[in-house]
């Protein structure tokens, strides 16, 4: 609600005013997310986002970043693009969100567009097939490592392991659609962790 006629001199630390997002132009947002989109090799885009947005630019505070990450992880959608939307929106509304997601997707999209054309032309070359065999095997190891690392962080008891197992069985053994498994196991897990009433007085003794 700051009136533009009263000159507020901001000398340093643009993020000093807590809760007041600093003004960032859509162009700046696009450029920053474009750089992240072009340099974040090897997955783990979230780490790149944090480095860039929290440490380097100070557009978001660390606490808010963690909070936005929690939203990203709960919603469908990739963490990277959900974060782009949420941070972009915080910085400059819907336009900021739009430019952020465009920026972060553009480099990878262009690259994969070229890959599709090259793969169509040379994908059956024996040397390419052999290399891709190695790449695919490595990708399995990579995704497994991600699962283990995430699991260590967010699984805290035996019931969690049951939900993990039920999900895997539903998709890989029972060959149910991901949607069905998500609906059945997801809702069961949410109900399992349903809100509980704070302990009543009688339990105090």
């Amino acid at each position: 609600m700051s009136d533009s006629s009263t000159p507020v001199v901001v000398t340093q630390q643009p993020t000093a005013a807590v809760g007041l997002p600093i003004r960032v132009s859509a162009g700046q947002i696009f450029r920053e997310f474009l750089v992240i989109g072009a340099t974040s090799f090897g997955g783990g885009v979230v780490a790149y986002l944090r480095h860039s947005l929290v440490a380097k630019r100070r557009w978001v505070e660390d606490k808010e970043f963690v909070e936005l990450l929690a939203i990203s992880q709960t919603l469908p959608g990739l963490n990277a693009t959900n974060m782009a939307i949420l941070v972009g929106d915080r910085l400059r509304g819907a336009l900021g969100a739009f430019t952020a997601i465009c920026g972060i997707c553009l480099p990878g999209a262009l690259l994969m567009y070229v890959v599709a054309i090259v793969y169509a032309a040379h994908g059956d070359h024996p040397l390419v097939t052999a290399a891709l065999k190695g790449v695919a095997a490595a990708a399995v190891g990579l995704v497994l490592a991600t699962s283990v690392q995430l699991g260590k962080k967010s699984l805290s008891n035996a019931y969690d392991l049951v939900f993990v197992a039920l999900t895997v069985l539903g998709v890989n053994r029972l060959h149910q659609s991901v949607l069905t498994v998500l609906a059945v196991v997801g809702i069961a897990a949410i109900l399992w962790y349903r809100p509980r009433r704070p302990p009543a007085n009688s339990e105090k003794t």
């Binding site: 469908p76 949420l86 599709a116």
Partner: protein, 175 residues
């Protein structure tokens, strides 16, 4: 035949399954793109997904390759919009509502409950990928080696994938 409506449907649907990450949608992506629509073989899908792991940015940009494959530039654009549009709108809306949801007791139940399920979906996607990527001792060794190295050392995974490409080219091409 015009595949654009099918691309729109398939990738719009897949986007809603990506709870906890893009890999969650992989089993369904295999069913729809390979078994139902016959846009590619399972091997091709596995290849594109794996190469996509080396690309920077959000880790499901390989969908662009599927779109290009099926319907050229228009296909690529349609797939991008279908895959990122719905979840982007959802994130925008939820992000704005989030503060108000703070007092809603189910908010933390949903977060808590979906955490193990999203890891299960990630693993399920990984096992589906493995069916098209692990064929014997050599490929299994590469996968286990990458897993152990990543758990042990803080190394950029893209470098490992690149190394696996070279190892693959050197060892599998001869045999």
């Amino acid at each position: 035949m015009n595949q654009i409506p099918a691309l729109l449907r398939v990738f719009g649907y897949l986007s809603l399954l990506t709870v906890g990450g893009g890999m969650a949608a992989f089993p369904e992506m295999k069913t729809l793109t390979v078994d139902v629509h016959h846009w590619m073989t399972f091997a091709q899908l596995v290849h594109l997904y794996s190469v996509g792991q080396m690309a920077p940015g959000p880790n499901m940009m390989m969908i662009v390759a599927i779109g290009e494959w099926v319907a050229g530039l228009l296909g690529a654009v349609v797939v991008l919009l279908a895959f990122f549009g719905p979840t982007a709108c959802l994130a925008l809306g939820t992000g704005r509502l989030w503060k108000r949801l703070e007092s809603w007791p189910w908010r933390s139940s949903i977060q808590r409950g979906l955490a193990p399920v999203s890891i299960g979906l990630l693993l399920a996607g990984c096992f589906t990928l493995a069916k098209g990527a692990i064929f014997g001792l050599e490929t299994a060794t590469i996968a286990v080696a990458v897993l152990l190295i990543l758990l042990q050392y803080n190394i950029n995974p893209a470098l490992l994938v690149l190394a696996a490409a070279i190892i693959g080219a050197l060892s599998f091409a001869a045999g």
